[in-house]
């Protein structure tokens, strides 16, 4: 070990000394950083972290929860009315219009559902009822639901569910919601005629890993850290034109973590698709020892 000697410094706070200047600079810097005037941080590895506006907090959440509930309620009678008209032979000619109306009401309803979920999930208020369920079966079920929806017809979804253990401990409704979000997301960002694969594996003891891979528009590296942030789609991601509130992935990740799982994403960059990795806990009696 070598001892280092320090040259003698002038008194630390002497006016005009380098240290005094540096301190003043640091102080000014700190003041600006905490003044809400900064909107992004560049990390030493070149990642950009956009900061949330300072006021994005509880009162807004409460307002959103109330608003989304209030806005959803009137949609239900409208939906029923549309269905009634659709069943009526006298309006047979109007069926395409009624179908269009139904689809739009459903979209609206889902957007509002996202908002409601965001407020409960974001505040960790969601109630989960974990049970042993077959994740493979859930994947097939969700795929079935998505197939019935518009825009899915041209996308090929390949299943490669080869995990030998697939009974996980999860809330079945919420698990389906996560999968639905991942699948819809993959479909949304795939070009017509594109393909999506869903694979499963038991990579580590006690876990099941599901990977949803698309070959769509991909995600630029600087946007990866933002992907699971609420409202990021509209605000900063280039996927703005794809609609939605940008809450789906935030909700999916929160729900995965609430049941002891993880949700991560990887992408090679723009135009190179993306892979979402969902890891879940196997139900205890199935875990190999």
């Amino acid at each position: 070990m070598t001892a280092t000697t320090h040259p003698s410094h002038p008194a630390p706070y002497a006016a005009g000394s380098e240290l005094a200047l540096r301190l003043a600079h640091a102080e000014a810097m700190l003041r600006t950083l905490t003044s809400g005037q900064v909107d992004a941080i560049v990390s030493p590895d070149g990642k950009i972290y956009l900061l949330q506006p300072a006021e994005a907090a509880p009162p807004k959440d409460r307002f959103l929860a109330m608003l989304s509930h209030e806005l959803r309620t009137p949609l239900m009678p409208v939906l029923l009315g549309v269905d009634e008209l659709g069943d009526d032979e006298r309006f047979a000619a109007a069926r395409p219009t009624l179908t269009m109306m139904r689809r739009n009401i459903e979209v609206q309803s889902r957007l509002l559902e996202e908002l409601t979920d965001f407020t409960t999930v974001g505040q960790h208020k969601v109630r989960l009822r974990p049970e042993a369920i077959d994740a493979h079966e859930a994947v097939r079920y969700v795929l079935e639901i998505c197939r019935g929806e518009s825009g899915t017809a041209l996308i090929e979804v390949r299943l490669d569910l080869r995990a030998s253990e697939s009974i996980v401990l999860a809330d079945s409704v919420r698990l389906q919601q996560i999968m639905w979000n991942l699948l819809k997301n993959a479909i949304k960002f795939s070009p017509p005629g594109g393909d999506i694969s869903i694979t499963s594996a038991n990579e580590t003891p006690g876990n099941l890993t599901l990977e949803f891979t698309d070959h769509g528009i991909g995600i630029e590296p600087e946007f990866l850290p933002l992907l699971f942030e609420a409202f990021q789609q509209g605000a900063n991601l280039p996927q703005h034109r794809h609609g939605g509130l940008g809450l789906g992935m935030f909700i999916a990740k929160e729900l995965a973590e609430a049941q002891g799982g993880t949700l991560t994403v990887a992408s090679e960059g723009r135009g190179k698709g993306a892979t979402f990795r969902l890891t879940l806990n196997l139900a205890p009696n199935q875990t190999q020892e």
Binding site: T32, L33, G36, D39, V42, G46, I48, L50, N236
Partner: protein, 105 residues
């Protein structure tokens, strides 16, 4: 944001600024507008503003030791200096960058 060059008529003694911002983030947009206003008022015809979007060019930010946005770097006249924030306080900006203040009013 892209077309942010305002080439000075008098390259000699020109004021050159480099503004690092994050796309259309609120403070970034404000900083750009404020910097333009300051330049138009104090250095009309002899300033140049180069805009660097760190979302597109993060490495340039790193190379210049810019760690937050918005950051404005006064490239010339020397010495090079940088300040952060949305540049809403004109006087403080000019003082911090060691620039002359024109008393217009």
């Amino acid at each position: 944001v892209n077309d942010a060059l305002n080439a000075g008529e008098h390259p000699k003694g020109a004021y050159v600024f480099r503004l690092y911002l994050a796309g259309g983030a609120p403070n970034s947009v404000r900083a750009l507008a404020n910097l333009y206003a300051i330049c138009r008022k104090h250095f009309p015809g002899s300033h140049r503003i180069e805009v660097i979007d760190v979302l597109k060019e993060p490495l340039r930010a790193l190379a210049a030791a810019v760690f937050v946005t918005p950051t404005v770097v006064k490239v010339s006249p020397a010495p090079e200096q940088q300040i952060i924030g949305n540049l809403s306080e004109e006087e403080a900006v000019l003082r911090a960058l060691g620039l002359p203040q024109k008393e217009n009013e």
